[in-house]
Subunit: 330 residues, 2 copies
Amino acid sequence: MPTQPTPTMHDVARVAGVSVSTVSRVVNNERYVHDETRAKVVDAIAQLGFQRNEAARALRPGQSSDTVGLVVADVANPFFSAIAQGAEEIVREHGHMLIVGNSGLDYQRERDLVQEMLRRRVDGLLVVPTAHDHAELHAELSRWAPIVYVDRAPRGVRADAVVLDNRAGAQRAVDYLIQAGHQRIGYIGGDPAVVTGHHRLAGYKQALRVAGLDFDQALVRFGNHTAEAAEETGVDLLTGPTQADAIFADNNRMTVGALHAIRRVDGGAGLAGFDDVELADLLPRPIALVTHDSIELGRRAARLLFDRIAGTTGPPRRVTHRTQMLIRGG
Amino acid sequence: MPTQPTPTMHDVARVAGVSVSTVSRVVNNERYVHDETRAKVVDAIAQLGFQRNEAARALRPGQSSDTVGLVVADVANPFFSAIAQGAEEIVREHGHMLIVGNSGLDYQRERDLVQEMLRRRVDGLLVVPTAHDHAELHAELSRWAPIVYVDRAPRGVRADAVVLDNRAGAQRAVDYLIQAGHQRIGYIGGDPAVVTGHHRLAGYKQALRVAGLDFDQALVRFGNHTAEAAEETGVDLLTGPTQADAIFADNNRMTVGALHAIRRVDGGAGLAGFDDVELADLLPRPIALVTHDSIELGRRAARLLFDRIAGTTGPPRRVTHRTQMLIRGG
């Protein structure tokens, strides 16, 4: 920051000996300015420490506020904080800043957040959408700024999205449990309406089908919103009438809960989970984890967004990010 | 968002049958508007879905952009993402939004970030400062917006800060190791210039002093910037000439590295660490952790900031947040 009050365009114009509108053209990188005139303005700006007033700039139609909005469910979840990390890196490379909001997976809060962001003239939005139908919201939002959805495509909408290969990843991990001899594999899921869970469940079913095992709806338990809830569900699956002998956990919170459940039950239950979990490699039991580079997921979504901000048109793009299975612990 | 182009103050004035300046007075909550007139304007606004242009509002002197900036080292670190979560909660309660940037503990990047945030007219800044002397930067910044430092007070500055009781927390954990029979306790630290490390080292030394153990500089290893580096340092401490029989790790990254080191060495080394680490409770060895509610740390810092934004004056305030020691695992 300058140690004097911020010079105005008038100050720059005076020092450069040009008109204010010429300063404006140089600052906004417009054409029809002689190189020599441009050089004078640039020198004056350097001399005065002139800082363009970003708020004033945001006011002009067609001009940018140089911010991008990111809506995640919960930035304290390591999956979402990794997305924020990757997004921020790319956003900064583009001279922008990142506004971050937590939807808590609540549609009304998501709606309020993106509208607040648009009021602040963000140039684009990165959104991990809630489970609610997005047809109406997307139609409204996309008139104001480009949007790229992250981790899941919203319901009812064809739009740019960067997602994981949920189905294939889950299938591979469940197949690992089957190959290890498990036959009754409990499924612990989060919000039943979130689409990633359904794709992961489809992968779970596919693995059973390929192995010739029956699908039992009683083994599938969605609606766990915390690791603690997943722990109780896990204990119930392993010790109740369903007699599960293994668990597939459909995200990192569910895996943490399932690990605690298995520890409490203290049997030989198998475990696989979607997302990596720190320190799983040091645990005394093997666990099959569907891992992915979630920082890179954030980077890819942000790159796609800046592509749109730069004016790239064309049909919605769906980028599917590969996962891999790792056996941790044991 | 409205499904028609955003109505202007002129549209509102037309529908309400009042002047544009009256609309402006109502929108800005100024006095001298009759209740009946105010009601007409409020009705027209509701009818039109008028949204105040936040960018225009930010332009007016004394008016707010309704954003707050948060600078952390690395939002993917669970400690910093918890701070972001807590800060966002309070920022939202105040009708503001949070701009988040990662300094990567680099002073130049920190400086660039806060200046970019101020250009966007943030109403205040929450900063986890880098280790560099902040006298000059703070003097510049504090002329433009209130600042609250989080986790550490910056060098060379008297300013509002919300910090942890680093010294007492570390002392308690190291004392636990001593009581467990360890005599040569290695210290694994991060950036040697970060002040929290020095306070934690002071707690480490104090625990030795109280127990009548000699301090050995060879056991103190700062400069580990990743969990992987801390792992190598841990292996060296435990197997090299220093013959450490336990480790104190001064933050969550160092603890993750130390856990891996102890696993590789496979001896009976003791371990204590600052910050909680997820899944530590499931590990087969006991670990003493200095835990704290880091979401609440973010909330407290944000509350203090809004106090200043609301105009509270007075000398710099230092809020020290309690830690507790928990024995996990085993």
